[in-house]
Symmetry: C2
Subunit: 215 residues, 2 copies
């Protein structure tokens, strides 16, 4: 396993540290707030109260030997930028940074961040797509124009097979799985009739998915 340090124990940083620990990864956490360190220490290998913009502190903790450094300070933009610069200068191989807006992200990119995450913006886009969809259907983005959605099987399709329905040609959508009683089958046989209690995962353009969900 890789050794990972998470700097900043806000909502994103602490969820990340806990999830990684759950996968059995050794995580070091740094935060300048002692209450946050007290809360997280039962879940991680090591939790340190320190100012991450202090170079001596980062050297003492051996940050340059870590496989991954996550800079999870979004609101404190100055600390985020200073810390990212320091760890990149020290030779950190892979640095992930949380950004609060596009300007912040641009600076992080310029100083060498390897990956930038926007938790609030990504969720905002997902919520917006859901709110403009019929019945608030959740869409999972696959690529620029293609989405995946879980839909209820339209009345008129029950009793027919995927082959008979000819979904690609007629509706420009593809079925990637059938959900029945919480169990997903991805290798569904295309010639078996669809049943009432099933739902299906489809992939296609947003408008094409909307078309079939309103049937």
């Amino acid at each position: 396993h890789k050794n990972i340090v998470v700097i900043g124990c806000g909502r994103y940083g602490s969820s990340l540290a806990q999830t990684l620990s759950g996968y059995g990864v050794e995580v070091l956490v740094i935060d300048s707030d002692k209450h946050k360190i007290q809360e997280i220490s039962p879940f991680v290998v090591k939790a340190v109260i320190a100012d991450a913009t202090d170079e001596m502190v980062l050297r003492d903790l051996g940050i340059n030997n870590m496989d991954v450094v996550v800079v999870a300070m979004g609101s404190n933009i100055e600390a985020s930028i200073m810390t990212t610069l320091l760890v990149k200068d020290m030779g950190a191989k892979y640095v992930i940074c949380k950004a609060s807006n596009n300007k912040h992200a641009k600076v992080l990119e310029k100083i060498g961040a390897d990956k930038i995450v926007f938790p609030e913006k990504d969720m905002a886009i997902k919520t917006a797509k859901t709110l403009i969809s019929p019945n608030f259907m959740e869409l999972i983005e696959l690529e620029k124009d293609y989405n995946i959605a879980e839909i209820k099987i339209p009345e008129s399709w029950i009793g027919k097979s995927i082959i008979e329905l000819d979904l690609r040609k007629k509706y420009s959508i593809n079925v990637i799985g059938i959900l029945r009683n919480g169990k997903l089958t991805v290798n569904m046989a295309p010639n078996i009739p669809l049943e009432e209690d099933q739902r299906m995962f489809v992939v296609g353009k947003m408008e094409d998915i909307w078309n079939i969900s309103e049937k």
Copy 2:
């Protein structure tokens, strides 16, 4: 189109308001901070400086007639809970709330929130899955155990077709699309040989996807 109000113009609230406006939806925004309202007002139909926990204010703005109310105050947990209670009492049909932790979410559920979003936690889980994957591969969660990933086509598969490779039986994975020069084809013919410059979207269990990406 539905009429939507976004209460709280932090990173999530303001991204949501702007994305919805981009889709042509009429958005009303409320925030107690006048700088936030100044920043957002060019992008939305109406932006109001107000305390969202004040019932008279919400009535004057006709919140009860809105199709969707989004309560986007995560750090100010008291305001989030009070506002959610008020709008549900006034008869708001569909209320989405941003939660900061599980306790906050539990209270919101009890008082009638229709949907709860965790932007930071969701992104933390996605980052954690990427960090434990070979080559930091990004996984898109489909259902509990099933993920989708974009992978480079292994050397030994080039020149062979999907049918020949028999991916379902041999590796328990399914191909849902082929990416070439940025263009995604979901209706790929299963008998055409794979080419070097293509990438593929596959669906399967996390471990099965890891297996084929390390080939």
